[in-house]
Amino acid sequence: MDQWLQALGKGGLSFFERLGRGNVFLLRTLTGLPSAMGHFRLVIQQLHSVGVLSIQIIGVSGLTVGMVLGLQMYNTLVDFGAEDSLGPVVALSLVRELGPVLAALLFAGRAGSALTAEIGLMKATEQLSGMEMMAVDPIKRVIAPRFVAGFISMPLLAAIFSAVGILGSYFVGIGLLGVDSGAFWSQMQSKVDLMEDVVNGVIKSVVFGFVATWIAVFEGYDAVPTTEGVSRATTRTVVHTAFAVLGLDFVLTAMMFGED
């Protein structure tokens, strides 16, 4: 019992210590943002490696998720003769939930882990301390541009995910299952509300982008500078981002759609 309590206390302390370090780190990153914007070339490079290179996996996943959604929803809806509602059902699921959440999870696996590994290896090979010795702040030069790029990319990737997903369900619904194309789009247009659905989905993806990128760059910067240290940090990025995104999704959903 004693040992158990001790372990609990120790775990709790180290959790809060990390949380504290993470917040200090975030503050330093945010104060480094203006100078990152000054080096906009660096942000562009990172937008390429964090954002553009993630489009493939986001697009493919969005397409398959959309196609599967189309199939499954159709099977249920057709029992009630409501297959014309396929458009809004798919669009709402994607725009409100699946787009932001799945894009964030994929983002953590594709871009977040790469960010952590890259920064962790730069630390392990003394590139970060070398930079400090040259009187260049690595938070401004290395972390801030990556943070900006992740923060900008995530909402765009989520939007691509949803858009491609809707197209996927369109192909399945209209091409394979014979749903009426006019009904598909017009129902979608009338049922999906810009503020209520689209904007809330965008807010989610902005929050997820912020958290996922923060976790990724912090884990890299805080990694133990050895081979195992970096590999553990990379794993932690993916796991912690998944927990954070799923937890926040519940909170945000409750706040946005809870009371009607």
């Binding site: 290896l121 590139q127 400090e132 010795m133 040259m134 260049v136 702040d137 030069r141």
Partner: protein, 272 residues
């Protein structure tokens, strides 16, 4: 502060203590490095030579004692002041620490681009001059992953001198170099030091090489300074430490082994 620049001593270390967790690395060090001199820090592997350079550069904070560089106590500087000081300090890391996503050229240009507003054409010329000095002008378009260990270290050297600092710290500049390059780097260090009025701090194990170019050799062992003086002082000194180190004798006051329990016990005693 005003007369600090007239001070003879550029780096003044007093009563320096430093530990990594429970392990005491430096245990009360006093060293003076004179302006314009080439000073070498020697000592067995793992005694804390790199650690000492990091303390001078302000990357680590002493547990006790002070490190003064150019009259400023490094540990008490604000981040901005420390960065100002570091612009005047070059450091060549033991591992090179080149930026792996930049070419050789861009690595050497990095400090210039960060800290000066020079036009690109002038940066190019400066970089070429520095790379030529280390014999790697032809390697400017290679990536660090395409360099050998010795070449990477020479690029790191070129980068360390790119801002023409007042002081340069070299962490093991000769390791992994062929004899010709060792000679070139030795001459380079001495020439840079004298022509540009620099102060150089070298960490090295190569007794013959550093004796030839150093004004001062400081021997560290077991967290203490065991000998300090000109190469000639050290050769003539009767100190057992100096003798063992300069003559590369396996036995003497400097232990070859990392602290451990008795060897015989370890092999034949009780297993843990």
């Amino acid at each position: 502060m005003a007369n600090a620049s007239k001070d003879e001593v550029l780096v003044r270390i007093r009563g320096l203590h430093f530990s990594h967790g429970p392990r005491v690395i430096l245990d009360g060090i006093d060293v003076d490095i004179r302006r314009g001199s080439v000073a070498t820090i020697m000592g067995p592997s793992g005694t804390g030579k790199t650690t000492l350079l990091r303390l001078i550069g302000g990357q680590l904070k002493p547990d006790a004692g002070t490190v003064e560089v150019d009259g400023q106590n490094v540990a008490s500087l604000s981040r901005g002041e420390l960065f100002q000081l570091r612009k005047r300090m070059g450091m060549m890391f033991q591992t090179g620490a080149l930026f792996t996503d930049l070419t050789v050229f861009d690595n050497v240009a990095f400090p210039l681009r960060e800290h000066t507003d020079l036009p690109e054409s002038m940066i190019r010329d400066l970089v070429i001059i520095k790379l030529n000095a280390v014999g790697l002008r032809g390697a400017r378009d290679l990536m660090p992953s395409e360099l050998s260990g010795g070449m990477a270290r020479r690029v790191a050297l070129a980068r360390a001198i790119s801002l023409d600092p007042m002081m340069i710290m070299y962490d093991e500049p000769f390791t992994g170099q062929d004899p010709i390059t060792v000679g070139v780097i030795m001459q380079l260090i001495r020439r840079l030091n004298d022509n540009m009025g620099l102060t150089s701090v070298i960490v090295s194990h190569d007794v013959a090489e550093v004796s030839a170019i150093s004004d001062q050799i400081c021997l560290l062992s077991g967290g203490k300074v065991v000998a300090d003086g000109s190469p000639r002082d050290l050769r003539e000194s009767q100190s057992a430490w100096a003798k063992q180190f300069l003559n590369a004798e396996p036995d003497g006051p400097v232990p070859f082994h990392y602290p451990a329990k008795d060897y015989r016990d370890d092999l034949f005693g009780e297993r843990d």
